[in-house]
């Protein structure tokens, strides 16, 4: 299914955080959304996931419009995300964090839980197996019973991705997944992302500042500045794009 944004606009008071953005993510694509700080990238994520309502423009997924749909419904329709500042359920275990995202797919009802029927035990076992599966991608199974807030930062970021995956999305929105990672971890992350894309057949839209990751795995890029998309194309093209360079470095830099 294709995720399509047309003319997406969001104002905050007088500021145009997102100004007429068009974006299209087809099935299975790995697209990067880059741009200077404050250019509106995370706001686009917030609009896509229903946290904000757009002031103008449309968001369609397949044939369905996502505007006005509540965030949890949008997630069930197939869009999951991670956050710029990690938002794990800090006092709960790693297992709980991932399990909760899979709640919609539980195979028992509240009465089964209350009376502890066989269905409940089977359902819980299934959930546990699913969780172990997702965690194994990131080599986090050994930490399954640890409290999420106690994990090292890099593991927390990976856990957040695992959690998002557990909600069985068709589109995964990753908000600066490599923030705070060293070059070794970034390389591992690049492998994880490609593996996820191939294994689960999902599309990925990625906000990131680390150019090595962006240039390394994204098929296409969109560059934002002051709420607008100023350039699109393949990574090699974007690297040479004058407008992009000006946006990042300023206008007086001599163009080589």
């Amino acid at each position: 299914m294709t995720l399509e944004i047309r003319g997406l606009t969001k104002y905050f008071g007088g500021i145009r955080a997102v100004d007429g953005v068009d974006l299209r993510i087809a099935e299975g694509e790995l697209v990067g959304l880059i741009g200077t700080n404050g250019s509106g990238k995370t706001t686009v994520f917030n609009l896509l996931t229903g946290f904000y309502q757009p002031d103008a423009g449309s968001i369609t997924f397949g044939e369905k419009s996502l505007v006005g749909v509540s965030p949890h419904r949008i997630n069930r329709l197939g869009i999951a995300r991670t956050f710029q500042n990690v938002r794990l359920f800090r006092n709960l275990t790693v297992m709980d964090n991932v399990r909760i995202a899979h709640h919609f797919y539980r195979e028992y009802g509240p009465l089964s839980a209350l009376f502890r029927t066989g269905r409940y035990y089977r359902g819980e076992k299934k959930l546990q197996e699913k969780v172990e599966d997702y965690l194994s991608i990131f080599s986090l199974q050994s930490r399954i019973n640890e409290v999420a807030g106690n994990l090292p930062y890099g593991d927390q970021r990976k856990l957040e991705i695992a959690r998002a995956l557990a909600s069985e999305p068709k589109v995964l929105l990753l908000d600066e997944p490599a923030a705070g990672m060293n070059s070794f971890e970034v390389r591992r992350l690049m492998e994880f992302i490609l593996e996820i894309r191939d294994r689960f057949k999902i599309s990925i839209l990625l906000i990131e500042h680390q150019m090595r990751l962006v240039m390394g795995i994204c098929e296409r890029l969109a560059v934002m500045d002051f709420g607008q998309v100023i350039a699109r194309g393949r990574p090699e093209e974007i690297r040479e794009n004058r407008k992009v360079i000006e946006a990042y470095l300023g206008e007086d830099v001599p163009f080589e």
Binding site: H72, N75, R87, L88, I100, Y108, A113, G118, N145
Partner: protein, 322 residues
């Protein structure tokens, strides 16, 4: 995997042991009837406190009006029993459930507009609701004279025997435990932890907030019914803001989101109150209320996470968890 029948057996034997044991003590006169009544009160308070534990400890909803739902349950079941139930045990059971049901229904209505408020505002809205209900209780005799209003309601049958109270206490613990250690319980916990992230991971946070709130208030309603039929006299001052504070203190002292802590704190609080009444010399009984706040302050300063923190008694710990 445990045998569910063996579990059931264990629970039933615990019940029989407790209920029969205490009733025996009561019947033979070995135990002082005054203290048996205090024990029953402690159990009732524990049920109500588990309710607030669900609402605040697990769902993270700051409710300062819990006593109002306690009162709604009390008056509802007392009225039904008095008008229609007589002395029938079956009627009593139904009346208690009705009390819980009405409390749950009111909670649903109140929840619809207020659960969208942020924490401190929710607290103040529930506090306001509590005060409004107290005013309603005070003036209840204008529309239903049997309720007594500010004069109080009398003529309630003493139906809350030890077996009933123990039954509902164990039932409440079981319900909380089985719900919390399930996907539904975890959905509720996720709201407390990070409501926005929970919403984005597919949890219908409004629905689960409502579930937590309604169930918690239903617990209070049932407890209120048991209370009414223990003391056989109801007065609106039993259901004021101070009572809501009492329950809040119990839940926090025991450890928020901790069944064992709530249980122990309920018993501790009631027995401490009564114990001090006995221990202190006659003219100084009111000193309790000077000592208890000091104890409260010291406990919070030394152990802000509550007495139990996050540790639970063995049976109340989920098996699939750490």
């Amino acid at each position: 995997m445990t045998n569910p029948l063996r579990n059931l057996g264990r629970i039933l034997s615990a019940y029989v042991l407790l209920a029969a044991g205490i009733t025996l003590l009561q019947a033979t006169g070995l135990a002082n009837p005054y203290w048996i009544q205090i024990l029953e009160l402690a159990c009732i308070v524990a049920i109500s406190a588990q309710g607030l534990n669900i609402i605040y400890g697990y769902t993270g909803l700051f409710s300062l009006g819990h006593a109002a739902f306690y009162g709604i349950g009390a008056y509802t079941s007392a009225y039904l029993m008095k008008m229609y139930g007589g002395q029938s045990q079956a009627a009593f059971f139904l009346a208690l459930l009705a009390g819980g049901g009405v409390a749950a229904a009111v909670a649903y209505l109140i929840g619809l507009p207020t659960l969208r408020l942020t924490s401190d505002y929710l607290g103040i809205a529930t506090l306001g609701f509590g005060i409004i209900m107290k005013v309603v209780f005070d003036n209840a005799d204008t529309f239903l004279p049997e309720l007594g209003g500010a004069r109080g309601m009398t003529g309630i049958a003493k139906m809350s025997t030890v077996p009933w109270v123990i039954f509902f206490l164990l039932a409440s613990l079981l319900i909380v435990r089985n719900t919390i250690y399930s996907s539904y319980g975890r959905a509720i916990l996720s709201i407390r932890e990070d409501e926005i992230a929970a919403e984005m991971m597919g949890i219908d946070t409004f629905r689960y907030k409502m579930v937590g709130f309604v169930i918690g208030c239903a617990f209070a309603g049932v407890a209120g019914g048991l209370y009414a039929h223990l003391y056989t006299f109801l007065h609106p001052s039993n259901f004021d803001f101070f009572k809501s504070i009492d329950i809040l203190v119990i839940v926090v002292l025991g450890g928020l989101g901790n069944m064992s802590g709530t249980l122990v704190a309920s018993f501790g609080w009631i027995f401490l109150l009564e114990g001090l009444r006995v221990v202190l010399p006659p003219g100084y009984v009111e000193l309790r209320w000077v000592l208890i706040p000091v104890l409260l302050i010291v406990t919070m300063l030394l152990r802000p996470q509550g007495l139990f923190g996050t540790r639970e008694f063995p049976y109340l710990r989920g098996r699939l968890y750490r």
